[in-house]
């Protein structure tokens, strides 16, 4: 059945959903992968692509500024490119991509010989070159006066299409061009070129930058040959373009690897990781976030506050209010921007480091890209990325250094514990800052594989020493010493002077980026895929354990709570599990699904059930109204959604085993004002909901324990009868047969009895509720003062214009007056909610008559007791009446009947009710609910007369002896 299948399908647990989510990470779309590879903002799509050859030359701004930078030039001249003497001609081949905001090129060789990501805003001019017929060439000029010529390779219509698409994109991008000028003012590269008169741009002010500008940059600029580096970059920026239109040649990569010069470091970082594009596109966002959230409090803010004075405290800027303020603003802004991550310790150190070289805005966007893209999950609420990458690191060590790994395993040294801070704080808390920054230079260029390559190299270079250790303490000490001596010679005893000059840090970089260059993105992703499941399992287990422990105390067992937890998370957004514990919310739709899975009386349409309604919708509006009532009542925070804790507490109340408590809880659902009174509308709602809740029993798809008892009796009678016929002894063990033949009419009679009981219960409930309802004091005093006649005042309660209410004692009295409803609240209802039903169990609530018979027979004990009772009573009857009663069989039947009667008999008797009586009940509602005009058209005279009859009956019933008992409950 589609219903069961759909249900089973949905009953996947949290972990699987999380895993699926993660798997889809790997299965990114082509566009998404493209964006990741070129660090473009999400949402860029490839509009067109083509094979192309590239020609680049630079239009000198100041002809007198001669340069020697034609190192890259190839001699291969094209006929048209004979214009400039200073041209730099390279003709790499590769692929050209067009997206809405970028023109991306990568060479076909190794993607590093020549690649660029041109922002369309930087393109000043595009023209088609007059070339020979088979070449289609476009010449573009950028804001940095770089002239790039594209020779499109391919059939002419395709090239024309590309050119057309480029034109469209450029046109569409025009509104963004205005952002370029102000942006240029924030870039140090532009300032540098402008100040040296080699740029058309005018940048007069020093662009906002890092704290280093004011508080000095860490390390010794002389030692790091900062000036020479700056000169090299200056040349590169002139010839290969800069920032949004830079052409990355092998020189670019080389210059990053030797370490970035202090003043350009921040800009190159944001260029390499792509955060520059976000900053360009969202010029005001940083200040807006801070402005909008000013004065707001949050957990993240508290946590940030604790760590502000503990972030790179040795750097002088963080001993001053200015540094602390910047740090506070960037961390806080990010916590508002991405509340799922908020703030994680270690981010303070990373941001403190970024802020030495970057302006607040640069650091803010860089942090965004870092947390969301480069190392996702590192700083999240469960830190799953950190845990996963530590596991990956361990297996990489195992793979590349098996002997050391064996040693580590043998002595149970916790490698991942040692390496975790390296990854989490990007080596900033492990090694002297100057070295950590060199690693970060490469990290932003090459991505997270850098972290692994360096970590492996650290282990490798210390391998011999580490093999001698037998405990965590020594292991950690060796590495600590190593980090503190990175500036020392790697080969202090070498006779070769050149060798002696190599520092440990240089050795580390060479080992990391040469020897471990095989540890690339693919290798890491392969390992991540392998371990992802286990890590997520573990996290889920941990999160679950923590969350279950934090739940309020209820009557549920741990097993039941565990099942509720799994079901809850199978319904709500799955990614939340990886993000946090206890923060997931269940909306109303998920709630109805949840309830329909565990409650016998709740059915939600399944997918494919389209004839009746769309999936997840409930089968009738009354059902929605009752569930909505529960939902709103359980939604303690009034946020339109409930937490796991709300759900557990609510279910616990709903299934309260105590009759009185259960009734009180039910009453409370309708007591909106919390004043212990339910008004007319509420009473009507309540009786409607009761009708709805009791549907399975009213329609006999489920049998309650009264019917069960009746069935027992029928079976017992049958057995006794058979025994008599066989003339077997009344003594001895009673064997319950595995099958018994019961007359179909008898079965039908039992079913009808139950149906009648429920209909009668509903009918009497509403009648009594209104009968015992008390008038609202004030109004009564005003309107009913003169009326003394009982009859009239009684009618007044039914009069829709007279406000009435019932209180809890009245409600209890009304319920307890009916055996079926009493049972509903003491047992039937709470046992119809299967909180502990396993998630993947088949949905089986239909306990039909056949099953009931079989079940009772299989169990045997209950029936046997009944049979024994009959046998005994028959025997004692025989003794006492000594033959008076010739037919013990009928006596037993009679006694059984009598017993049944005693059980059944409330003082009001069973009101004979058939299907029509349902109309009567509805008629009563209609009478109260509908306006007079509508009432006349809908309510027939017979309905009204029936109603009066029922009213009379109810009145008669109220004079019955039980009434005195009932009234006692008012004082309860």
């Amino acid at each position: 059945m589609a219903f069961f299948e759909a249900l089973r399908d949905r009953a996947v647990n949290t972990i699987n959903q999380v895993l699926d989510n993660k798997k889809s990470d790997l299965g990114l779309s082509k566009d998404e992968r493209f964006c990741r590879e070129y660090n473009l903002p999400d949402g860029e799509v490839i509009l067109d692509e083509t094979a192309a050859e590239i020609g680049i030359k630079h239009e000198r701004v100041q002809p007198q500024a001669q340069s020697q930078s034609q190192s890259q030039a190839h001699g291969n001249n094209r006929p048209h490119s004979n214009s400039s003497a200073n041209q730099l001609d390279i003709l790499p081949q590769g692929r050209l991509y067009l997206t809405p905001h970028f023109l991306v090129f990568r060479d076909a060789f190794d993607r590093k010989a020549c690649s660029f990501t041109l922002h369309l805003s930087t393109i000043k001019k595009v023209e088609r070159l007059p070339t020979r017929s088979y070449v289609y060439a476009l010449s573009t000029t950028t804001h940095s006066r770089l002239i790039i010529t594209f020779y499109l390779v391919g059939v002419r219509p395709e090239s024309e299409k590309f050119a057309h698409n480029l034109k469209l994109s450029l046109r569409a991008n025009l509104p963004n061009v205005s952002k370029l000028q102000p942006f240029i003012q924030t870039l140090y590269s532009e300032y540098l070129l402008s100040k040296n008169n080699v740029s058309l741009e005018k940048v007069e002010e020093v662009p906002p930058g890092g704290l280093g500008l004011k508080f000095k940059f860490p390390g010794n600029a002389k030692d790091s040959r900062d000036k020479s580096k700056m000169k090299l970059w200056f040349d590169l920026l002139r010839t290969d373009g800069r920032n949004l239109s830079v052409i990355k040649t092998p020189m670019f990569y080389r210059l990053v690897r030797v370490g970035l010069p202090n003043r350009l470091r921040g800009e190159i970082w944001e260029l390499c990781c792509g955060s520059m594009y976000y900053r360009l596109d969202n010029p005001d966002e940083y200040s807006k976030i801070l402005q909008v959230n000013e004065g707001k409090q949050s957990l993240a803010k508290e946590e940030i506050e604790k760590d502000l004075n503990r972030s790179l405290p040795e750097y002088v800027a963080y001993q001053s209010p200015e540094g602390i303020e910047r740090l506070r603003r960037v961390l806080t802004a990010y916590s508002w921007k991405n509340p799922d991550v908020g703030y994680c310790q270690a981010m303070n150190i990373v941001v403190a480091a970024l802020l030495i070289y970057m302006s607040e805005e640069q650091a803010f966007w860089c942090l965004n890209v870092l947390c969301d893209r480069i190392v996702p999950g590192y700083y999240s609420k469960t830190m799953y990325g950190t845990l996963l990458d530590q596991r990956v690191f361990e297996s990489l060590v195992q793979e590349t250094m098996p002997i050391l790994w064996e040693h580590i395993t043998k002595y149970d040294i916790q490698l991942s514990v040692v390496s975790l801070p390296w990854f989490l704080s990007l080596y900033l808390s492990s090694m002297p800052l100057v070295f950590a920054f060199r690693i970060i230079d490469v990290f932003f260029l090459q991505g997270p594989k850098t972290l692994f390559q360096v970590a492996l190299a650290i282990i490798k270079l210390n391998g011999e020493e580490l093999l001698k250790t037998e405990d965590d303490g020594t292991f950690i000490q060796i590495l600590k010493n190593y980090f503190q001596t990175l500036d020392q010679s790697a080969h202090p005893n070498s006779p070769n002077e050149k060798y002696r000059a190599i520092t440990k840090f240089q050795e580390l970089l060479v080992t990391a980026f040469k020897e471990f260059s095989v540890i690339d993105e693919d290798a890491i992703n392969k390992h991540r895929a392998k371990h992802r499941d286990t890590i997520f399992q573990n996290i889920s287990t941990f999160v679950k354990r923590t969350e279950l422990r934090n739940l309020p105390k209820t009557a549920f067992t741990q097993e039941a709570l565990s099942i509720i937890y799994d079901r809850f998370y199978s319904m709500v957004e799955s990614y939340n599990v990886t993000m946090a514990s206890g923060s997931s919310l269940m909306d109303f739709k998920a709630f109805t699904k949840f309830m329909s899975e565990i409650c016998d009386w709740c059915y939600a349409y399944e997918d494919g059930d389209s004839e009746k309604g769309s999936a997840g919708e409930l089968s009738n509006p009354i059902e929605t109204s009752f569930l909505k009532r529960l939902f709103n009542h359980w939604d303690t925070e009034d946020q339109g959604a409930i937490t796991l804790s709300d759900l557990v507490v609510g279910l616990n109340r709903l299934t309260a085993p105590d009759l009185m408590e259960n009734m009180a809880n039910f009453f409370e659902l309708y007591d909106h004002k919390g004043n212990g009174k339910i008004d007319r509308e509420g009473i009507l709602q309540m009786s409607e909901d009761l009708l709805y809740i009791t549907t399975p029993w009213k329609e006999a798809s489920l049998l309650d324990s009264i019917t069960e008892r009746d069935i027992e009796q029928v079976i017992a009678d049958q057995i006794v009868k058979q025994k008599k016929q066989q003339g077997s002894d009344t003594e001895g063990e009673i064997i319950v047969p595995s099958e018994i033949d019961i007359d179909d009419n008898e079965k039908q009679r039992l079913i009808n009895q139950q149906v009648e009981r429920y209909l009668s219960g509903a009918s009497t409930f509403i009648q009594r509720a209104f009968e015992y309802a008390q008038p609202q004091e004030e109004e009564v005093l005003l309107e009913e003062l003169s009326i003394t006649d009982n009859k009239i005042s009684h009618n007044a309660a039914l009069n829709p214009n007279a406000p009435v209410y019932i209180n809890l004692p009245t409600f209890r009295m009304v319920v307890l007056a009916d055996e079926t409803y009493e049972l509903l609240f003491s047992k039937t209802f709470s046992s119809s909610i299967h909180v502990d039903k396993p998630l993947d169990s088949k949905f089986k609530t239909i306990r039909n008559l056949r099953d009931m018979f079989d079940g009772l027979l299989a169990d045997g004990r209950k029936v046997a007791t009944q049979v024994r009772r009959r046998m005994d009573s028959a025997a004692s009857n025989a003794k006492h009446n000594s033959g008076n009663n010739s037919s013990p069989d009928s006596a037993s039947l009679k006694s059984a009947k009598k017993e049944e009667e005693e059980y059944r008999d409330d003082d009001f008797g069973v009101i004979a009710i058939d299907e029509k009586d349902k109309d009567l009940l509805l008629g009563a509602e209609a009478q109260v609910l509908t306006d007079p005009v509508r009432h006349k058209t809908t309510g027939s005279s017979s309905d009204i007369s029936k109603f009066h009859k029922a009213e009379a009956e109810a009145e008669a019933a109220s004079h019955s002896p039980r009434e005195t008992n009932l009234i006692e409950f008012e004082h309860d």
Partner: protein, 216 residues
């Protein structure tokens, strides 16, 4: 070869909410020092210190963990195989005491079965001056009785300390040391049982006592 006092190594882990003074307690115990603005612990810090109790020398291998909530999911990596734990709270911060309760439960459920746990209420220096007087505005928010009763309930050692004034700090480690069974065999057995695959083992110890996990 035959050293007079072969030190018994004892793995001890510190758990507790952020900024309750875990690292400061360790710093006081290991270096008899105190720093006002200590850098937050990323993941965990590792320190060792020897401690002589009677004729025994114990070498504490101390894992000082990060206190921020989200690092809790890393905690199982650190308390794995631990023979002793300090669950630390700040006597001026009620929330940190609730967190301590959770840690105790977590350890009882997930850590080695015979782990010795000490409950430590730190920052006694902040309330020292107004102890004795019945001042309404005392900084103390968790009474000594509450601490004692949780300790009695969960069978923990209990101390109130001040890492700043060093009040009671050494007593904690001496107290723990005297409770640790001297037989190193148990420890060896423990170590073996955990050396299996899943090295980043979040599920904690192998002795799953989940069934006992009734709410208090």
């Amino acid at each position: 070869m035959s050293l007079p006092n072969p030190a018994t190594p004892v793995k001890l882990v510190l758990l507790g909410e952020a900024a309750v003074g875990k690292s400061s307690l360790v710093l006081r115990f290991v270096s008899n020092d105190f720093q006002e603005n200590k850098e937050p612990t990323i993941g965990a810090a590792f320190l060792t210190q020897k401690c002589t109790i009677g004729d025994r020398t114990i070498k504490y291998e101390i894992w000082d963990t990060a206190g921020q909530e989200r690092f809790a999911s890393l905690a199982p990596m650190y308390y794995r195989n631990a023979q002793a734990a300090l669950v630390v709270y700040d006597i001026t911060k009620p929330a940190s005491f609730i967190k301590a309760r959770h840690w105790v439960k977590e350890l009882h459920e997930q850590a080695s079965k015979d782990i010795t746990i000490a409950l430590v209420g730190n920052k006694y220096d902040l309330v020292e001056s107004d102890e004795g007087g019945e001042e309404e505005d005392s900084l103390r928010k968790v009474s000594i009785e509450e601490g004692k009763s949780l300790a009695a309930e969960e069978n923990l050692l209990f101390f109130e300390t001040s890492a700043k004034t060093s009040y009671n700090v050494n007593d904690v480690f001496i107290g723990i040391g005297s409770k640790i069974p001297s037989a190193s065999s148990t420890e060896a057995a423990n170590q073996q049982s955990h050396v299996s695959e899943g090295r980043v083992d979040l599920s904690g110890g192998v002795n799953n006592r989940g069934q006992d996990a009734c709410p208090c």
